[in-house]
């Protein structure tokens, strides 16, 4: 506060060294976060990078004397908005990684050109402005930053404030309307679904809610899918069942697991076991067979 007050006293031409140090360190972090948000393949990582940048920005707000905003930035942005983002990311599929390969011809070049030009223009514009001295926000914050803001919001900007309120309500209603799906018919009971399945000769209709990767080729059985695991040996869901020839059946494992590559294949083990079993049984049958042959010959 005392710093701000001293700043407010007369137009300053430089900040404190502490702020400078803080700026240079945090600015790098902010830029890295921003770059991360843009360049990360997975949306989750982008969101996290962005959250980092936003926290840095909150610190900058504080440094610039916007205490209220600094706090709001953390609470609203990093706390609420970014979490909302994460929710949606989860909803859409947290594991999905985007390809960064450009599909529109020339888009990247043009975008680069525009961005570069725009950036240069902005920088040029800023450097063009003569900003050797500044007033500092100390005077304005003298009665307390929150109080100062409140005074402005409820007097000068009261209309904008009210309208913003209306906007928020509208946005809330809009979001509900957009995401809400009205059920126009009674939901089918389990029995009805089973009957339909048998009637159609299919196990079930792939629901649109399912992730594309789950819509495998397996949905053709009217009966429940075969159970996973190798009976009496394994009963974990991530172990495919064996077919009579010893190979695994994809049908028996959840497609999600298959997509993730989290299937444990124990077929080799099983085959080896089988071989051993056969060996043993043939050893045993060696004897049995000759007896058998004798028996046959005797009968003739």
């Amino acid at each position: 506060m005392s710093l701000a007050a001293s700043l407010a006293a007369s137009p300053a031409s430089t900040t404190s060294t502490g702020e400078a140090v803080q700026f240079w360190i945090l600015a790098v972090v902010a830029v890295l976060g921003a770059l991360g948000a843009v360049l990360m393949k997975k949306a989750v990582h982008s969101a996290l990078s962005l959250a980092g940048t936003m926290i840095v920005l909150a610190v900058f707000y504080l440094a610039n004397g916007a205490y209220f905003l600094g706090v709001v930035q953390i609470v609203v942005y990093t706390g609420a908005i970014m979490m909302l983002f994460l929710f949606v990311v989860m909803l859409v599929g947290v594991t999905a990684a985007d390809s960064l390969k450009e599909t529109i011809k020339g888009q990247r070049w043009l975008a680069g050109l525009c961005v570069l030009g725009f950036g240069i223009l902005l920088m040029a514009g800023i450097s063009n402005a003569s900003l050797k001295e500044w007033n500092g926000v100390g005077g304005a914050n003298a009665g307390g930053n929150v109080e100062g803001l409140a005074a402005l919001i409820f007097t000068k900007y009261v209309f904008a404030f009210e309208i913003t309120g209306a906007l928020l309500i509208t946005a809330a209603v809009g979001a509900m309307v957009l995401t809400h799906r009205e059920r126009t018919e009674r939901a089918a009971t389990q029995r009805e679904r089973a009957e339909q399945r048998v009637r159609e000769g299919k196990q079930s209709r792939p629901s649109p809610d399912h992730h594309p990767s789950t819509t495998g080729s397996a949905w053709h059985l009217p009966t429940p899918a075969p159970a996973p695991g190798v009976y009496a040996r394994h009963n974990a869901v991530d172990i495919p069942g064996l077919l009579p020839d010893g190979t695994t059946s994809d049908l028996t494992v959840s497609p999600t697991l298959r997509a993730r590559g989290q299937v444990r294949d124990v077929s080799d083990e099983a085959l080896a076991d089988l071989k051993a079993l056969e060996q043993r049984s043939s050893d045993w049958q060696e004897r049995g067979r000759s007896e058998d042959a004798d028996a046959k010959g005797a009968s003739k």
């Binding site: 529109i104 525009c114 030009g117 725009f118």
Partner: protein, 631 residues
């Protein structure tokens, strides 16, 4: 009397209208109706002639304005007639010979199913020709001038099912149009120079205008005359025009139409007199053509084409005479009249021969016809004697005067012109004797026609022989009649004026020389065609002969330069129009279309692309703002 002039023109015009629009009801009576109206016209001409004879030399001209034709601002053209001795001469010649040819055609075209129309065209032709010689201003003359061209187009192409006839007709009209261009430019020049183009004011004040302008006018008039009178360089249509029925050849290409050029020059004498350079051009054209036609006439085996060459040559004489100025005008016209008689007679005779020979035109397939067609032989023979200038016959008087006048031009020019005229006379004697010998003498060289039948020559019906006989009388006596007491000279002098020429050689010498060359020409022809049998197919001949057979390569020149060149020009222009002019238009359209197609691709449906454009736009806006600030 004045109203009679209008009637004179109107009678055949009415005939043409009635016959052409009348429909099939008139098919039988049509020919006689046409002939009757031509005769009426002739009768009116005679009445006017008698009336004119009753007046003094200077008061004979008759002017009548029928109605205002095109009154626009300072431009006034009237339909008005001017009948003086010059027009009178032509009126009588046109209607007289014309009526005879009508009569002849009644027999000649008796078996043609479209004869009604033929007589309609003939009447149209007479009307146009009368309009031409009776007009009192150049524009009305122009109407007649083109009307004659139209009628000749219709008549030459009368047998339209023959492509050659259709082509010949088109050619005649086109070549004439080139001449007409000259006439229309001349009229424009007259208008800008004199502010009018009526004969009287123009010719009265001709000398007031600058000589340059007058020379230009005169040269343009000469071009017009060349076209109509088949003079070099616009002579090429005349030979082809023989595709028409023979009476047409007789009427148009001997007695009347081709003389229009001579009329024009004589009528515009005042202009030519004031433009000596133009006169030189006129005599040059005349001299060249008279030799040109004569040479072509020597080589042709087609009887009508040989006669066509002869016509060209004789008109050349007239043009030559007219180009000599007041010395020659009268003789030009006189030769024109006598030529009208004997050439019409010759053509009608030729038609009669063809009539009897299953429309064969190749003289090498004639021979010995004098026994089979006595009347034709006699009349044709008289015409022959007249044209070569046998003493005492028409041609002798008129041609002799022209040769004399040519010498009278004086200086080197006079010698050249006189020499050319003399040479022409010799060649005339040669080729006419050739025609005569090939047709009527020697052994029969008849060949079967397309149907394999040998011709059975016979004398033609009365309607055809009567005109021939009448014309033969004309060929024999006209010249003498005109020359005794200089009757013709006195008759025409008030209109054309006359001066006696001062020839470096005496008249008698000229006559003697003419006789000499006449004999030489006849003798050569006799030596070639009289004594020896004539091959049925033409020998290859010398280079000159072959060139002459092809009209001295004029057609080839026209074909290569004008026709081919024109074809290339039009074809390339069509290409240019399609590719270049239209190409620019279509190209603009296509480029707009292409641009839109390309622009459409910018709308690729990807929101991100739109975002780039938006962002780029924002950048540009900022840049603009910054720049505005900086400035």
């Amino acid at each position: 009397m004045e109203n009679l002039i209008g009637l004179l023109v109107l009678a055949p015009l009415l005939g043409a209208g009635v016959l052409l629009c009348g429909g099939r009801r008139l098919d039988r009576s049509g020919p006689w109706l046409g002939t009757l109206l031509a005769a009426v016209s002739f009768a009116l001409g005679v009445v006017l002639f008698a009336d004119m004879l009753g007046k003094g030399g200077e008061e004979r001209a008759l002017d009548v304005t029928v109605f205002q034709w095109v009154p626009v601002g300072g431009f006034r053209a009237d339909v008005g007639f001017h009948l003086d001795q010059l027009s009178m001469t032509f009126v009588l010649l046109i209607t007289g010979v014309g009526s005879l040819i009508h009569l002849y055609s009644v027999g000649y075209m008796a078996h043609d199913e479209r004869k009604r129309r033929f007589f309609g065209y003939l009447n149209l032709f007479l009307a146009a020709m009368l309009l031409l010689v009776l007009a009192d201003n150049y524009l009305l003359l122009y109407v007649g001038w083109e009307g004659v061209g139209l009628a000749s187009y219709l008549l030459i192409g009368f047998w339209q099912h023959k492509p050659s006839a259709a082509t010949a007709a088109k050619k005649a009209f086109l070549v004439n149009r080139v001449g007409d261009m000259g006439l229309s430019i001349a009229i424009m020049l007259l208008f800008t120079t004199f502010g009018t183009f009526a004969f009287d004011p123009v010719l009265d004040r001709a000398t007031d205008a600058g000589e340059g302008k007058l020379t230009a006018i005169a040269l343009m008039l000469l071009l017009a005359a060349c076209g109509k009178s088949a003079q070099v360089p616009l002579q090429s249509w005349l030979g082809d025009a023989m595709e028409g029925p023979t009476p047409v050849s007789a009427l148009i290409h001997a007695a009347t139409m081709v003389t229009a050029g001579v009329y024009l020059i004589t009528r515009s004498g005042a202009v030519f007199d004031a433009a000596p350079d133009a006169q030189t051009a006129v005599v040059t054209v005349g001299a060249v053509t008279l030799l040109f036609g004569a040479i072509v006439g020597c080589a042709k085996d087609d009887i009508k084409k040989a006669l066509a060459g002869s016509t060209m040559s004789q008109i050349g004489y007239m043009i030559l005479a007219a180009g000599l100025g007041p010395v020659g005008y009268v003789f030009a016209i006189m030769h024109l009249v006598t030529h009208g008689f004997f050439k019409a007679g010759l053509f009608l005779g030729a038609g009669s021969v063809m009539h009897g020979m299953n429309d064969e035109v190749d003289m090498r397939r004639y021979g010995g016809l004098r026994k089979y067609m006595p009347v034709t032989f006699v009349t044709f023979g008289l015409g022959y004697l007249a044209i070569i200038g046998f003493p005492g016959l028409s041609g002798f008087f008129s041609k002799d005067k022209i040769i004399e006048a040519a010498f009278a031009k004086g200086g080197t020019e006079g010698w050249i012109l006189g020499g050319a005229a003399l040479l022409g006379a010799a060649i005339t004697a040669y080729y006419m004797t050739r025609v005569m010998l090939l047709t009527f003498f020697g052994e029969k060289r008849w060949q079967p026609d397309a149907n394999g039948e040998l011709p059975h020559p016979h004398e033609s019906p009365r309607t055809m022989t009567i005109p021939m006989v009448v014309l033969a009388f004309g060929s024999v006596f006209a010249g003498g009649l005109f020359s005794i007491n200089d009757t013709f000279l006195k008759w025409l002098e008030p209109v054309t004026g006359h001066e006696e020429g001062h020839s470096p050689v005496s008249a008698l010498t000229v006559t003697a020389a003419t006789m000499l060359v006449l004999v030489i020409g006849v003798a050569i022809a006799w030596a070639q065609y009289g004594r020896r049998p004539v091959p049925v197919t033409a020998p290859r001949g010398s280079l000159l002969t072959r060139a002459a057979r092809r009209d001295l390569l004029q057609d080839d020149f026209n074909h290569v330069v004008l026709v081919r060149g024109g074809e290339h020009l039009t074809r390339s222009l069509v290409y240019v129009d399609h590719t270049l002019v239209d190409g620019v238009v279509n190209g603009t359209a296509a480029s707009v279309g292409g641009l839109s197609g390309r622009m459409r691709k910018l709308q690729n449906g990807y929101a991100r692309s739109y975002a780039v454009s938006m962002f780029g736009g924002a950048a540009v806006l900022i840049a603009a703002t910054l720049l505005m600030r900086a400035v």
